[in-house]
């Protein structure tokens, strides 16, 4: 049962990731990317990390994909024929992806993975996560919020109408 669910998620993840870089229409590509991101959220749920999965959907699908689609719409004339995407750098990209695959395979082969079922690990609950973020990981956490604030101010400055 659980294996079946995993394979469904895995196949949809790979298929839509592949489609999102190969279909011609940019809007179709965005839809495929949405399915990819939803599948990634599915992987998180499957691994027993619902918090990360939920945040994945909220941020990537609800926020970033909406912005992507807005950007696609606003860079062309509204109702215009679709923008085509192209793969100009097919061979360098393929070589790079191949190199990453080889590296991953080497690491996977080098380790002996135990295939017996382990008792489910009790993941950190939300409270622990919050406490950790505000104690041990306070500096990176605050740094990210500073970065986001800078981006926010920057967006307003760029978007402001010039006098």
């Amino acid at each position: 049962m659980t294996e079946l669910v995993f394979y469904i998620i895995a196949v949809s993840l790979c298929a839509f990731a592949f489609l999102s870089v190969t279909v011609g229409d940019v809007f179709h590509s965005a839809v495929c990317l949405t399915f990819t991101l939803l599948s990634v959220a599915g992987v998180y749920f499957f691994l027993g990390a619902p918090f990360i999965g939920v945040i994945q959907i909220l941020v990537y699908v609800g926020g970033i994909m909406t912005l992507f689609i807005f950007a696609i719409k606003l860079t062309a004339k509204i109702g215009d024929a679709s923008i085509r995407q192209f793969t100009r750098q097919l061979w360098p990209g393929a070589a790079l992806a191949g190199a990453i695959l080889a590296l991953l395979l080497a690491v996977i082969r080098a380790n002996a993975w135990s295939l017996r079922l382990l008792p489910p690990v009790q993941g950190p609950d939300l409270k622990q996560l919050g406490v950790e973020l505000l104690t041990r990981y306070l500096l990176p956490f605050e740094f990210i919020s500073l970065l986001l604030l800078a981006a926010l101010v920057g967006a307003i400055v760029i978007g402001k109408v010039k006098k």
Binding site: M1, D25, F27, H28, V31, T34, L38, P50, F51, V54, I55, I57, L58, V61, G62, G63, M65, T66, I69, F70, K73, I78, G79, S82, D125, L126
Partner: protein, 323 residues
């Protein structure tokens, strides 16, 4: 029987129960809306089919089932075809964490309220896909407006939910209900403000008057679902009323104590509170005129969002002072 098979049957049964509730609730709400609007406008509303038109929605459903599914010639078929699912499926998925009673919940995730908010945020893509895939300028404008509106009002909506989470100290829906055993949340002033912000923002999220500019019928025909007919249109319609029920149910859980209540069984209290909020929102819909696009956006960003942020700050201070 094998446990594996039992598990699958139980899952399918739960799914059927959720789907049945979604369909029946939407049909009831459509009839109810027609009756409320009729009362507001001093009419009778549907009266022919069944007692006071009670079977009107059933007749309408049969009509929609039998209608031809027309594909517009210029439509981007795949996107056009997928869009209703993107709107309807999240609406049904939300019921996973809906607490109808102390034990009547499909799965009490420990991130319940966050799960609901994130799943509902997917439907904005469906609305946009419907607008884009139809190759119709009215649809596209409706989709654009809707997307702009939903992402703007999502901010005050989530901030007012955050106030509840701070007060309850948990994200689980059942945990939030249990936190209100000593007193419903809307009785506290800062949470009353959050309740009001939530209701306003949620009305905008489901595109209802006074925030219905995505489907403003006098300018945009029917907005993003102009080009849909038959069951495709029915899916949008059911999703719209299901989302309407969802925001009322979430509001009753977060602020009005959910299923808590004396004497009567808990699901009765839950549904009573949810339908009470629905009635008030219908009353608003048939009373107020529609806002303009720029009024609506400036209200979201210049009034609601700062107010909601301030409310988070005040709640933080109150919690610190009380220790």
């Amino acid at each position: 029987m094998k446990p594996f098979l039992m598990e699958i049957i139980w899952l399918v049964l739960k799914g059927i129960m959720a789907l049945t509730f979604v369909a029946v609730s939407a049909m009831f709400l459509i009839w109810f809306e027609r009756k409320v609007s009729a009362r507001v406008q001093n009419r009778m509303g549907p009266m022919i089919t069944g007692f006071h038109g009670a079977l009107q929605s059933v007749a309408d459903t049969v009509k929609l089932l039998l209608k031809e599914n027309i594909v517009p010639t210029g439509a981007d078929f795949v996107v056009w075809w997928l869009a209703p699912f993107f709107v309807a499926v999240p609406a049904i998925m939300v019921f996973v964490c809906m607490p109808f009673g102390p034990n009547a919940i499909v799965c009490d995730l420990n991130v319940g309220i966050l799960f609901m908010c994130s799943v509902t945020s997917v439907s904005v893509l469906g609305i946009f896909m419907a607008g884009w895939g139809s190759s119709n300028k009215y649809s596209l404008l409706g989709g654009m407006r809707s997307a702009a509106q939903i992402i703007s009002y999502e901010v005050p909506l989530l901030l007012s939910v955050l106030v509840v989470v701070m007060q309850a100290g948990t994200l689980s829906m059942q945990g939030i209900v249990h936190a209100q055993e000593t007193g419903w949340f809307f009785l506290k002033p800062n949470l009353l403000l959050a309740f009001i912000i939530y209701i306003i923002a949620a009305t905008a999220e489901v595109n209802r008057v006074p925030f219905d500019i995505p489907e403003a019928e006098s300018e945009l025909v029917a907005g993003y679902h102009t080009e849909y007919s038959g069951m495709k249109f029915a899916m949008f319609f059911v999703a719209e009323y299901t989302n309407f029920f969802i925001i009322a149910a979430i509001a009753s859980t977060l602020f009005l104590g959910g299923w808590l209540g004396p004497v009567a069984p808990s699901p009765v209290w839950f549904l009573l509170k949810a339908y009470g909020i629905i009635f008030i929102l219908m009353w608003v819909r048939w009373t107020l005129p529609r806002l303009r696009m720029d009024q609506m956006m400036s209200f979201a960003w210049k009034a609601l969002t700062p107010l909601a942020l301030l409310n988070v700050l005040v709640t933080g201070w109150l919690l610190v002072i009380k220790g």
